[in-house]
Amino acid sequence: MMKGVELSTLGLVAVLAVILMLAVITAVFIGAVSIPFTEVIQILVYKILGVKLGDFASIPPTHIVIVWELYAPRALLGVIVGVALALAGVVMQAMVQNPLADPYILGISSGASLGATFAFLMGAGALGGMVAELGVSFWAFIGALGASFAVFTLSAMGGKMTTTRLILSGTIIASICGAFSNLIVYLAPSDSGIKSLTFWMMGSLSTEGFDGLIIPGIILIVCLLFFFTQMRPLNAMLMGDEVATTLGVDLSTLRKVYMVLTAVLIAVMVSNCGMIGFVGLVIPHIARALVGTNHWKLMPVACLLGGAFLVVADIVARSLTTSEIPIGIITAIVGTPVFAYIMIKKSYGFGSRD
């Protein structure tokens, strides 16, 4: 019987991998400028394999730029961010043993917002030059990382780093960051930055060229390699601190390592694409509804689902109107009903009994 379960999970993983690939291919030729499918294939084959297929010379150079510099990297960024959010969501939910945890729970989002607020609104002010030069991404990254390390330090202070202390510390740091963000907005000399800030917070996968993908890609691969060796401790963590300890899992060390890795991972993603909500919360639950709580199955399924979901959400965000709708809006609009559905569905109780 066990064998059968494993086979069906492998089958599901294969299906999801195919869906992810199809989503990426679709994303590459859908956009504001419609480019014929054959041209897209010709461009991709030329850029990846160096082979000029068919009547390559007749393809307008702008099409090559759009496909290779805009659409392809954007699709890939969608995969990277989607996988990262799903991965971090799964890890975070295990780490704080709470089904409502998401990658942003430990202060990361509030810290990133504070950083971004600082960059957008101070950039126009007296400090202008220096702040603006480093860019929004830099400040969001600093804010995100700073906030998660503040949560980390606070929760470890004066006692063991328990799940409750982690969540409470997250709430405390989020409140402080929120207060300072609001203070900056209140004191801002002009309104011009506020709209850019709002748009930034809603998230976007827009990117130019593949250079911007290098750092997110590397950190994601490092995290994937690491967390795919952590299935047993992650499973044990869900049994609670006491049981995990008696199973020989060194929680206090592992929590620190997990926190540092997810904090860096999510800080990089947020600084690149803003706040894309619901993926890190909903995708792990959908995956759990499909294959159960065991991380051996949950982790690969959640990662593939996350990647595919975000790429599809971006396709929707780009093709609904002539301009681009911020992707955070799409993920929330699609994510919330799905979340509501799995909550209503009786067979999936978020793991709890009632």
Binding site: Q93, P99, V243, L247, V249, T293, G351
Partner: protein, 258 residues
């Protein structure tokens, strides 16, 4: 073997276990009894390493705890604590499989041997048919037997149980203790029920205020005088004619024996 030597454990500023020295020999079933707040659970928590001792030493299977990793400890000692509740739902087989955690390298998949051990453990607790069920769909007694199966899957020579019969009905109380007794492992078990303690333990420690007050065989320590002294309750203790085991009957205030 499980030994503590002059063990002290404090929670905050309050000392809960106070210079307690106990030992459990190989294959022995030792009971830990005492009123609420006497330090039973705290002592066990120090032994299974979720609490740090303030002073004194703990040795499990000849290894000093402070010299060994959590993983080594898990290979020497398995734990069944008071009733468990989980925020996330696992299948029964997955819960039991977690007992293999200390035996496996991080990337190692479950193999045939692990599955065989899981199967055997489930059989020992009489829960083989529940393998594919969700843990949360089981009753309290069934869940406790699954937790026991997980502890068995750990294949460790020593077993610590913290009131394993709590919240269970009579049948399951006897079931769980019969299974444990049948293992022949080195067992240290905190119990509330003096009758169960008298019926199952080879030897008993009575704790009060974090100190060991009495130690000995059930018939030596479970006496009318000791029960009156420790619990402030009048009782009669006799060998039951049918079971041949000690039997404690308490006298409530409204009874004629009071």
């Amino acid at each position: 073997m499980i030994e503590t030597d002059e063990l002290c454990v404090s929670i905050g500023k309050k000392r809960i276990v106070d210079h307690s020295t106990i030992h459990v020999d190989e294959g022995e079933f030792v009971g830990l009894i005492g009123p609420n707040g006497s330090g039973k659970s705290t002592m066990l928590k120090a032994i299974y390493r979720t609490l740090e001792p303030e002073s004194g030493t703990i040795t499990v299977n000849g290894v000093m705890l402070k010299d060994s990793s959590l993983r080594e400890s898990a290979l020497n000692l398995a734990v069944v604590s008071q009733h468990n509740y989980y925020n996330f739902d696992f299948m029964v087989e997955e819960v039991v499989m977690m007992g293999r955690t200390p035996h496996k390298k991080s990337m190692e998949m479950d193999n045939e041997e692990d599955r065989r051990i899981v199967g055997e453990s489930l059989e020992k607790v009489g829960m083989s048919d529940f393998k594919g069920r969700k843990f949360s769909s089981l009753s309290g007694g069934e869940q406790q037997r699954i937790i026991l199966a997980r502890a068995l899957t750990q294949m460790s020579p020593c077993l610590v149980l913290d009131e394993p019969t709590n919240h269970l009905d009579v049948k399951y109380q006897l079931d769980v203790l019969d299974i444990v007794k049948g293992l022949g492992s080195t067992v240290l078990c905190a119990l509330h029920d003096l009758n169960l303690a008298a019926q199952y333990c080879d030897r008993i420690y009575i704790l009060e205020g974090g100190r060991v007050r009495y130690e000995g065989s059930p018939s030596e320590v479970i006496t009318e005088d000791v029960i009156l002294e420790i619990y402030g309750v009048k009782s009669s203790v006799e060998v039951h004619p049918k079971t041949g085991l000690l039997n404690v009957v308490y006298y409530p205030r409204h009874s004629s024996g009071f």
